[in-house]
Assembly symmetry: C2
Homo-oligomer: 342 residues x 2
């Protein structure tokens, strides 16, 4: 019998098809094909992007020239503009403001063919550090209330360029799903005086049925009520509401578990498109006892039909218990870098 | 400058690209191609579907045989099952229940090639009446709390069969987005003592910039803060929280405006895939002064990237003012059936 399961944070119900759960080979996976053509993100083409905002470079190399390991530039076609003030205003009963914000691209590495599933641990660590560095820098701008870090991997997941990159949007508002998580976790905290994410991590580590991986500091789980097959969340075991409070050495531990999670997803699902998104506390908020930052990784396997989009009601054909088991058991290539198990 | 706009009901912010707004020809529209092959929904193949639950038939024709104008059958691959009780239970901190529910298919007309954009007004009226008849029937089952009516038109909008059909899911829970609308509109009502939808309709009819069509009883608008380009909502002008309180003759007025809206969308966007969904009050609730039923129609033009899905934060490249103007001005074929203007 299918099950209805409730997300413990925001209270969203999803249908989980527990009986004939779909395994990876049951999905028609749209593998990415190489697109070719000119790439503005490749070394030597730095002049074709807006100037770099941040770069990790080899000593002695000049800005906006080769020699970088990672570059952050403004999006050439930004969804928001940086000039001006939000100017909140009404139009009768409606509320609006100027679309002030920033839209940046994190070019994760110089090699056109390296993805986050194949990048070195050192490289992955620098990507994660760049997220933190940029959020910290943007928190200085009082016009912003939130920095949204996300990645679209593969064309049908929304990546318009092939060269592996993440994106970041600085916003004068808090996005709706993050607001729902803040409200939901506050409600739980007011009642239990415990963080709902900490409770979830405790139960997952004890049950060991939806855990994909763990190391000293982090855990990767298939959440109890996932919207999509093979959805994976990565969370710090210790309570932190904001990503920018991550210690320098923790970026390495996070890179280890994140890298192995992506390798296991790729080994299971082929080069399926995916998205991930960082859910963290709004900027300049003091540490919140009820919120807990995390990454949500969503492979793009099922078509999200309009009724799911228009109702907030998801049907997931793969139980997270099956997905987690599959991801744990899939054999990675022998050459893979080992992950320290806790 | 782009604008950030807030949905007045649930408070979701969206980015509207007001400057270089995309017009229909700017989108790469995936037109539906005829798929061919055996169709279980065509007359003569009634034995290949589960038995009919409801049918509007010519006098003297037998159930599950030709002679029908519209048929409702159970989905052959239902997401939920009808046997048993919900049996709400916990798994540690998590909440779940049996996936009790019903999943029905409304085969809208016998002709394989007729869509809701080309069906007769009489036929459209019967489709709308069937939605009401089925919601009313399912409201008798105390296990259900909500009936979700929706349509996926076109393969990439989630339609697995070509023959035009709608779907209906009876659920023991209220879907998340409807719950958000209920909460948001209740909040507004508690503050203003007015229905937020009624206020919105009043302002739209006065401003006349986002109105696509209206007749005596209904209005079709591009909402102020739409998630997607050319999103259209159809609402009754008078306050009703539940679709099943629609009077028999009102189905005709609704068919008129709905039909012309779909014709105008098709004429503007080609045979673009779309979804629509009925948002109505939970079943067996008394009339609610704060909630207002409506249809939401969402053409599938932009790819919903993961970050939008994972953040609840949408970027819409077409201002609703432009979309409404385009839809108002597009020339329908001379042969079209006239709609009574209010």
């Amino acid at each position: 019998m299918p099950e209805l399961r409730k997300d413990p944070i925001i209270g969203r119900w999803v249908i989980i098809a527990t009986e004939r759960g779909k395994r990876p080979h049951d999905f028609v996976i749209e593998e990415e094909v190489t697109r070719g053509g000119f790439c503005p993100f490749c070394p030597g083409n730095e002049h074709t992007t807006p100037p770099e905002i941040l770069a990790y470079r080899e000593p002695g190399t000049a800005p906006n020239s080769p020699g970088w390991r990672l570059r952050v530039v403004n999006n050439k076609f930004p969804a928001l503009v940086l000039q001006g003030d939000p100017d909140r205003m009404g139009e009768g009963m409606f509320d609006k403001m100027n679309g002030i914000g920033t839209h940046e691209v994190i070019i994760e590495n110089p090699d056109h063919h390296v993805t986050l599933a194949s990048i070195s641990l050192e490289g992955f660590h620098e990507v994660l550090r760049a997220y933190g560095d940029r959020i910290r820098a943007l928190a200085e701008d009082p016009r912003f209330r939130y920095v949204l870090v996300f990645k679209n991997q593969g064309r049908s997941a929304g990546a318009s360029l092939e060269h592996s990159h993440s994106q970041l949007i600085g916003l004068p508002i808090v996005p709706e799903l993050v607001m729902e998580e803040l409200n939901g976790s506050k409600f739980y905290y007011n009642w239990k005086e415990r963080c709902v994410f900490c409770d979830m991590i405790r139960q997952e580590l004890q049950q060991q049925v939806r855990v994909v991986l763990e190391n000293q500091e982090f855990v990767a789980i298939c959440p109890f009520a996932p919207r999509s097959p093979f959805e994976v969340w990565i969370l710090p075991k210790a309570h932190y509401s904001s990503y920018i409070d991550l210690k320098a050495e923790s970026y390495y531990r996070l890179a280890e578990i994140f890298s192995e999670t992506l390798k296991r997803l790729e080994k299971s699902l082929g080069k399926a498109p995916y998205n991930f998104i960082l859910h963290t506390a709004p900027i300049r908020e003091p540490e919140m006892p009820y919120y807990h930052w995390h990454f949500e990784i969503m492979p793009k396997l099922t078509l999200v039909a309009g009724f799911e989009w228009g109702s907030g009601f998801y049907i997931n054909p793969t139980p997270p218990e099956d997905a987690a088991q599959f991801l744990r058991e899939v054999q990675l290539d022998a050459s893979r870098e080992p992950t320290n198990q806790a």
